[in-house]
């Protein structure tokens, strides 16, 4: 275990820790709301995992500053690969040169996670609705008690 490895990965390890805490709450807790909370934490941690992947050191959010936006039409400027650098230099536009210097973090994880968050809240809503219904029917939301009631029946 080298130091670079540690500094390169400790982010992920904390995210793993968060995920596992959420997972633990889901499988260990018998209260239904607590289970749903656990699920929430689990999912938020996965979102963090994805977002962590998209980050580039020294990068910035994938939002094009107003000055540059609109000028890069039709260009194939590359923010990272050095083999493309000469193309960029060819351009007379000062803005374009600026654009090449700005490093953007990868927007795709963000896009995916927007979807995932929405899916997560949909699941939560459905789960909560089920809990309300179960609580009406059984008068409790503790799984152990409910199983006991069903067994007695």
């Amino acid at each position: 275990m080298t130091l670079t490895e540690f500094f390169g990965l400790y982010n992920y390890w904390i995210v793993v820790f968060l995920m596992m805490t959420g997972f633990y709450i889901v499988i260990a807790r018998r209260n239904m709301i607590k289970t749903v909370i656990g699920l929430n934490i689990f999912q938020v941690s996965v979102v963090l995992l994805y977002v962590t992947m998209g980050k580039v050191t020294g990068g910035t959010a994938p939002i094009i500053p107003p000055g540059i936006a609109g000028h890069s039409d039709g260009e194939h400027a590359s923010s990272h690969g050095s083999h493309d650098a000469h193309e960029v230099v060819d351009h007379a536009h000062q803005h374009a040169a600026d654009a090449a210097e700005i490093i953007y973090s990868n927007p795709l994880p963000s896009v995916l996670m927007l979807t995932a968050i929405v899916v997560g809240i949909a699941t939560t809503a459905l789960a909560l609705a089920l809990i309300v219904r179960i609580s009406e029917d059984y008068g409790t939301i503790e799984e152990d008690e409910i199983l006991l009631m069903d067994r007695r029946q």
Binding site: I41, I63, I141
Partner: protein, 188 residues
């Protein structure tokens, strides 16, 4: 660096607090805080769109929904009797597997990782001509390349919506029988 380390630490502490706390009301509040902390970290990770959504949805809507549910059900969690050893073991194994899996991963922020280099030209460059210079690349992507996912996402929300209606709506008749049988529900 310091900020991110402290946020990460706080996240971990909050998560443990949620796991241990027996009062559901407090747990829900902590969940809101967890989401909020997560959102701030996302901001640091250059994902403002996700951060805003997480803050709104995770810290906002879901907290409200949970509080609403709590109001209908009850605030105290009964202590769990079953031993935590099996869940701990499962979680331990899963976590260990994940840590093991990170060992071959590109390091944090590595600009030569496949995530950054596989798609060339990258989304930012590609989307500029395709989206006619829409400044927010994330929004552009949501509507274009991953537009179909967004449609799916809408379908998920729609599904959840009608599902909630379906689950919570009670028939007048159903309620009566419920009452007459002393809320015991119907047996098989």
């Amino acid at each position: 660096m310091l900020v991110s380390v402290s946020i990460l630490t706080l996240l971990a502490v909050t998560a443990i607090a949620i796991a241990r706390i027996g009062d559901l009301w407090a747990a829900v509040m902590f969940t809101g805080i967890f989401s909020f902390l997560g959102a701030s970290w996302m901001l640091i990770l250059d994902a403002p769109d996700v951060a805003f959504t997480e803050a709104a949805v995770g810290a906002g809507i879901s907290t409200v929904l949970m509080l609403g549910t709590l109001a209908l059900t009850g605030k105290k969690e009964k202590p769990t009797k079953s031993s935590p050893i099996v869940p701990l073991f499962v979680v331990g194994v899963t976590g260990a597997a994940l840590i093991y899996g990170t060992l071959d991963m590109p390091h944090f922020g590595d600009r030569h990782s496949p995530v950054q280099t596989r798609i060339d030209p990258g989304f930012v460059e590609k989307s500029q001509p395709d989206m006619h210079g829409l400044p927010n690349v994330v929004t552009g992507l949501l509507g274009s390349y991953r537009g179909y996912d967004t449609l799916g996402e809408t379908a998920v929300i729609f599904t959840a919506g009608i599902a909630v209606i379906l689950i919570l709506r009670r028939e007048p008749k159903e309620k009566e029988t419920e009452r007459s049988t002393g809320k015991k529900g119907k047996s098989l």
